[in-house]
Symmetry: C2
Subunit: 423 residues, 2 copies
């Protein structure tokens, strides 16, 4: 597909994508799509009759994407296809935008000038642990090769509830967290020290937003689960490993994760990812799952190359990891089915993280803990070394599926570490 709009060949936001987000316009927040180097302000577009053919959409353009997401997948598909048509070189609707210079000027905002926001009002945020290699790598560090994966791991997508309030959009700087750590973990009796986190880490994840809700008490079946998914974003689940090590027994991570989680602001619709379906790591395992988790589709993951870049203050960017979403053992529909099997209700705007997406080889892991184990440092472009993050470090996660000119990507997921807040 070619567009009348100039779209750089390496843009994650090709005509094949059409992701949705929320940007600032004047003093309010408005829905938008990203295309090439622009955001299209959908309120401005609608005001000029852009959605005259789709009146249901017009009344669901709000300062968050929740109302639009709640319209359901058939509507999202219809709107995406319509907007692709509007931007196509051979558009059936040239008068709407292609030949309307005034609307182009008022509604197309350069992405470099757009302020993005968390695109949805998030009710609950759940983080899964579906990255098989990550779970294995972490298991090896804690329990050795033979007992690396817990007995439940290949039977259900392990998950924990996360903190929704501190989910922030790409570009938000975060203070290094402070809390209780064991300065000398080998000591007995174990007495904690109050300290800034000394083992600040990242987690490379994908996450999905929920579109249509389910009622409390009524599970979502595996066959219907995908239709409850609005779309995907990239996510950095920042983790304070030393705080986590001390606090997490017996109820799981809490302060180690609650200080911030960064997501890309553009939601890539689930339909935009359909061409990139791929066979997962262990197709055989899928067949052994209990029926409520068993998918009819054999291709239950996506082929999306992912990368992690670290830039130290005053230094050069270094790509520290290359991974791929094929490393997830469970799909997002399986996560939805498992989450709701007890009757738990998912609401529009809920966020489900995949867990860290690591490969099996060196330089493909999605966390520093796996890459360095606090022992073998990474070497950055300027020769500096890293076990964990230092103040002033900037992390960028990137991911895009497809090929040049037709990429379906997420854009950059950026976060910089500030010094600890002065108490």
């Amino acid at each position: 597909m070619a567009s009348w709009l100039q779209i750089p060949k390496n843009s994650p936001f090709s005509l094949a994508n059409i992701p949705f987000g929320i940007i600032s316009a004047a003093s309010s927040r408005v829905p938008a799509i990203a295309i090439g180097e622009y955001a299209l302000n959908l309120n401005a577009f609608a005001s000029s009759g852009g959605f005259a053919q789709l009146p249901a959409v017009q009344s669901h353009l709000s300062p968050t994407l929740n109302a639009f997401a709640a319209l359901g997948r058939p509507v999202h598909r219809q709107v995406r296809e319509y907007l692709q048509n509007v931007f196509r070189a051979d558009t059936q609707f040239p008068q709407i935008l292609k030949d309307n210079a005034a609307l182009q000027k008022s509604a197309l905002v350069p992405l470099s000038e757009a302020t993005n926001h968390v695109p949805m009002q998030i009710g609950d945020y759940t983080d899964f642990y579906a990255g098989l290699n990550h779970a294995y790598n972490i298991g090896v560090l804690f329990r050795g090769h033979d007992n690396a994966l817990q007995p439940n791991y290949k039977h259900l997508p392990v998950a924990y509830h996360g903190r929704a309030s501190s989910v922030v959009p790409s570009g938000t700087a975060l203070h290094r967290p402070q809390g209780q750590i064991l300065a000398n973990p080998a000591a007995d009796p174990k007495v904690p020290t109050f300290s800034p986190c000394k083992k600040l880490d990242i987690e490379l994840e994908l996450a999905c937003f929920i579109s249509t809700p389910n009622d409390l008490g009524k599970p979502v079946s595996i066959d219907e689960a995908e239709d409850h998914i609005f779309g995907l974003v990239l996510m950095n689940d920042w983790s304070a490993r030393d705080i986590q090590a001390w606090e997490y027994v017996p109820l799981g991570p809490f302060n180690a994760k609650n200080f911030g989680t960064t997501i890309t602001p553009w939601v890539v619709l689930i339909d935009a990812l359909e061409p990139f379906r791929a066979t997962g790591l262990e197709p055989g395992n899928q067949e052994s799952l209990l029926p409520y988790l068993r998918e009819k589709k054999s291709k239950n993951c996506y082929e999306i190359p992912l990368e992690v870049e670290l830039t130290n203050k005053g230094g050069q960017p270094t790509i520290i990891s290359n991974s791929n979403s094929r490393n997830l053992l469970y799909s997002f529909p399986q996560m939805v089915a498992h989450h709701t099997i007890t009757g738990c209700n998912l609401n529009t705007g809920d966020l489900l993280g995949s867990g860290t997406i690591s490969g099996a080889e060196p330089k493909t892991q999605g966390s520093l803990l796996e890459q360095t184990n606090g022992k073998t440092p990474l070497t950055l472009a300027d020769g500096s070394e890293r076990m964990f993050l230092e103040d002033g470090d900037t992390i960028v996660l990137r991911g895009k599926a497809g090929t040049e000119g037709n990429y379906v990507g997420f854009g950059d997921c950026v976060g910089t570490i500030l010094p600890p807040f002065k108490l």
Copy 2:
């Protein structure tokens, strides 16, 4: 304090209380207070000039208590004292309600006819584990007496993120959850079975709602923490023990808790509980805490007797436990300080559970797991036995501080177990 309104001596909603909630009125939701056997519809009260003296309140009466809570503790205190005055026998404002039969008729709704709702829009729900005896009792079951408490337990209030979407008001019936359990936990290799939960349990807890928020990155100091608390409710954190046992390693409980959490609908303001401050279980431990958790007040818990009642279908109510909130090792202000020490932002309406409140003696535990360990059944009034809950069982939690005629209580926290949802 005596009231011109007839208030039964055993009512949890004496003139000393004045808890806030949300009730249905016509087809909308309105804020209310509970007093004796009535709810006072605050919208109706305000429409007749009831808040003429407190205009700031009038514009913050919404279908949830969030806007009112965000006004902050000094305003809550002022409004409570004003409403106590309005209801006092020697009220300074007789014309407002005492001598206004028309407004009494329109604004005082019998509690037996009022429909209650979850009183706040809950952003995030966090559950702590601050019940010392509960943590010890569970620890004994899993690890024996010598290692019952984890090394971190007396240094920080252990917590995990909970599921906000399934917090329901007292009176909501819940389906027995279904999911993966180990039919034979001793077997190796461990292979799960799909089943309705066979070990459905309760957890007797208190919980607080957050009033004023803190910014991401800025911890709330222990000295300021209490002023971020709006008030308390009773909470039943229903728990599926067999689902929990299989899923919870390594990231904590998830499906075992996400199907429902029941709260009382009336928020007892933090100021109403001030007269019931008491010294906690281990005052010495408080002094050994890291400074960010150390409170100036030596009385860091409340004297609130609590009880658990179980009624089987067609049977009689049986009080199965008597406990007291003095069994909490950490206070709600300490939970707030710990929650935010990393920079985590709390929002108005966030809910913080205490953890299960168990005593040290038989018949004082806040969960069935502790009382029966699945081995020694409870005997109900009609002779039936219980290890865990059966379909049709109704649980009522109750708690009130103070003495006859001046009780400050929560009302009933009621939930009934329905059979599993038919898949």
